[in-house]
């Protein structure tokens, strides 16, 4: 087990290094940065000045190792647009995105797990079919459109929730619902299939033969085994949700890292873009590691 985790950790580090390289290449391969930064009205001298000021005149390999060396220490440079250190900028926005992600995951789990269980218990019935239809609808719903619909209905017509901004917890409800929608189908299908498999297993027959109550059979014996894959997918889904928060944060003007990334992209503020890509990727890598650890805790067969 320890060897497995060490191996996973090594792979994670390797992945992180690759993503570091990719996010560097991402900005450099997209054309001449100095021209992008300078803007359409700049003269040739302006561009040259910018190129030298930002160190873009150095060979690519030098720039690369310089960026890696700093990034490893948590120094992502300075934002061109905000005139602030990128690390402070991200540090101040990250809590908002993380809150949004956790709210979204919370809503998704609260909806998906009970529905998945009900569908599994009533496998083949109309309830099961209805639940699977919900999954299909959720999968097909464009998140930004759902966001707009909620703004019109909940925000404007019913006036239950604020339409946009970051001020209070109420600002997280609508974006949270929208974000949850993207994770619900996968979580629900997995809960359902896990429960169907568990309920058909021999150990459930044993539990029934022992005369256990229905609640104990479902909640203790079946769910515990069905939960193992759900937990790891939940962690992975949280990673996807954070990556997808850029759309939702922009729709709801929620000032998290996603919104920051969108602003920076439109301002050609590449140090920020680079850093956000990297940070989100690192969070995802961390979450998959966490999922493996949780699996080991939940599944005694993986412990040793």
């Amino acid at each position: 087990m320890t060897r497995f985790l060490l191996r996973r950790l090594a792979v994670a580090l390797l992945v992180a290094m690759t993503v570091l390289t990719l996010s560097f290449m991402l900005t450099r391969l997209s054309g001449d940065l100095a021209i992008s930064i300078a803007g359409p009205n700049a003269t040739q001298e302006d561009v040259e000045l910018i190129r030298r000021a930002y160190g873009l005149d150095r060979p690519l390999t030098v720039q690369y190792f310089d960026w890696i060396g700093r990034a490893v220490l948590g120094d992502f440079g300075t934002s061109y647009f905000f005139r602030e250190r990128v690390s402070t900028l991200i540090g101040s926005r990250l809590p908002i995105t993380l809150t949004l992600g956790l709210v979204g995951l919370g809503i998704a789990l609260v909806v998906a797990i009970p529905l998945g269980i009900i569908a599994a218990v009533r496998e083949g019935s109309w309830v099961d079919r209805a639940v699977m239809l919900v999954a299909l609808v959720g999968q097909a719903m464009p998140s930004f459109w759902l966001g707009l619909l909620l703004m019109v209905v909940l925000g404007l017509q019913l006036q239950w929730l604020p339409i946009s901004g970051t001020g209070s917890w109420e600002h997280f409800v609508m974006p949270g619902i929208v974000l949850a929608f993207s994770a619900i189908p996968a979580l629900m299908r997995l809960t359902r299939s896990g429960m169907v498999e568990a309920l058909a297993s021999d150990y459930i027959r044993t539990a029934r033969a022992k005369g256990l109550t229905r609640l104990s059979i479902l909640a203790k014996h079946a769910l515990r085994n069905a939960a193992i894959p759900v937990v790891s997918i939940a962690a992975v889904q949280l990673g996807f949700m954070l990556g997808g928060s850029i759309v939702i944060e922009t729709v709801f003007a929620l000032h998290g890292v996603g919104f920051l990334a969108w602003e920076s992209i439109s301002k050609n503020d590449f140090p920020v873009v680079q850093a956000v890509v990297l940070v989100l990727a690192l969070i995802y890598i961390g979450l998959t590691l966490l999922a493996d650890l949780l699996n080991a805790v939940l599944d005694p067969r993986l412990r040793a």
Binding site: L22, M141, F144, W145, S266, F270
Partner: protein, 286 residues
């Protein structure tokens, strides 16, 4: 035993979903191909005297503009069918690009195993850790909006599921008895790949293709919605929603028309994929 007996009813249900999926995708596909030629209006022609005309089922609407007009007086129906063409083309081309990358990697990893497979697995892991929407937006933002760029970027980003499925199914096929028999009979690697592996994994890949196409269409809409996808004035459905967004509080139907179209298309493609999978699954069971 109860599973085999429940199957007939289930099969009918899946056929129903599959049929509905085929119907939706077929209808929108036909609209994408022939629609622009059939609608009387030009999707790009502005008519500032006819701004935000409501659809025919609402008070004040007419059949002149059955789905109304947008904020610049352009006919919504004409833009919608032209937008269907954009969604479909982007969906199909992205799937071809990502399919080529993903299937190649997956089959190589699954077929050769060992070091090759380690590299493929590592590539998949790296790909999954990259936030798709963000990177796509960043590339389009830095290189400028263009139709081709959107397809290229999505194609380069959405190959992971193809690779995962191609890899695992190739492994399964590789270990089947009759494939081992072909090895023993002296067939070459290439002929085993072409005659045993590919035909056997093709059905699974078809299912992935539908799901990826749905995803590509949703992502394109999201990129265009954020202004970093298909360049205006092309009527991408995502772009139509973005342009209509400022008017949605007064006339919500402006975001309903393109939004519903997008939802129905993606829903139809997913139904198709699910129906396909269940049909193939049923065949596997038999």
């Amino acid at each position: 035993m109860s599973a085999t007996l429940a199957a007939p009813r289930g099969r009918v249900r899946h056929r129903l979903g599959l049929a509905l999926g085929v119907l939706i995708v077929g209808f929108i596909g036909l609209a994408a191909i022939f629609g622009p030629a059939l609608t009387p209006h030009d999707p790009f022609a502005q008519d500032l005297g006819q701004r935000l005309v409501v659809p025919f089922w609402m008070e004040g609407g007419s059949l002149e503009h059955p789905l109304g007009t947008d904020q610049l007086g352009r006919d919504y129906l004409a833009r919608l069918v032209y937008g269907a063409r954009i969604s479909m083309v982007i969906g199909v081309l992205t799937v071809i690009a990502s399919g080529l990358i993903g299937i190649t990697l997956g089959v190589l990893g699954g077929f050769f195993g060992g070091r090759v497979d380690d590299v493929v697995l590592f590539a998949i892991t790296c790909r999954l850790s990259i936030p798709v929407v963000l990177v796509a937006l960043a590339v389009v933002g830095l290189m400028g909006n263009s139709f081709t760029l959107v397809i290229l970027v999505l194609g380069l980003l959405l190959w992971d599921r193809f690779a995962v499925v191609a890899r695992s199914t190739t492994m399964q096929v590789r270990n089947l008895d009759y494939v081992s028999a072909a090895w023993c009979a002296g067939s070459s690697r290439v002929s085993i790949l072409a005659r045993e592996v590919l035909p056997n994994i093709a059905t699974h890949l078809a299912v992935v293709a539908t799901l990826e196409m749905a995803l590509a269409i949703l992502l394109e809409a999201a990129l265009s919605f954020l202004g970093l996808g298909v360049p205006p004035p092309l009527p991408s459905w995502g772009l139509m929603i973005a342009e209509a967004k400022d008017y949605m509080y007064f006339s919500p139907w402006v975001i309903m028309v393109p939004g519903v179209a997008l939802f129905v298309l993606v829903f139809g493609i997913n139904l198709l994929g699910d129906g396909l999978r269940d049909m193939l699954g049923a065949q596997d069971a038999r």
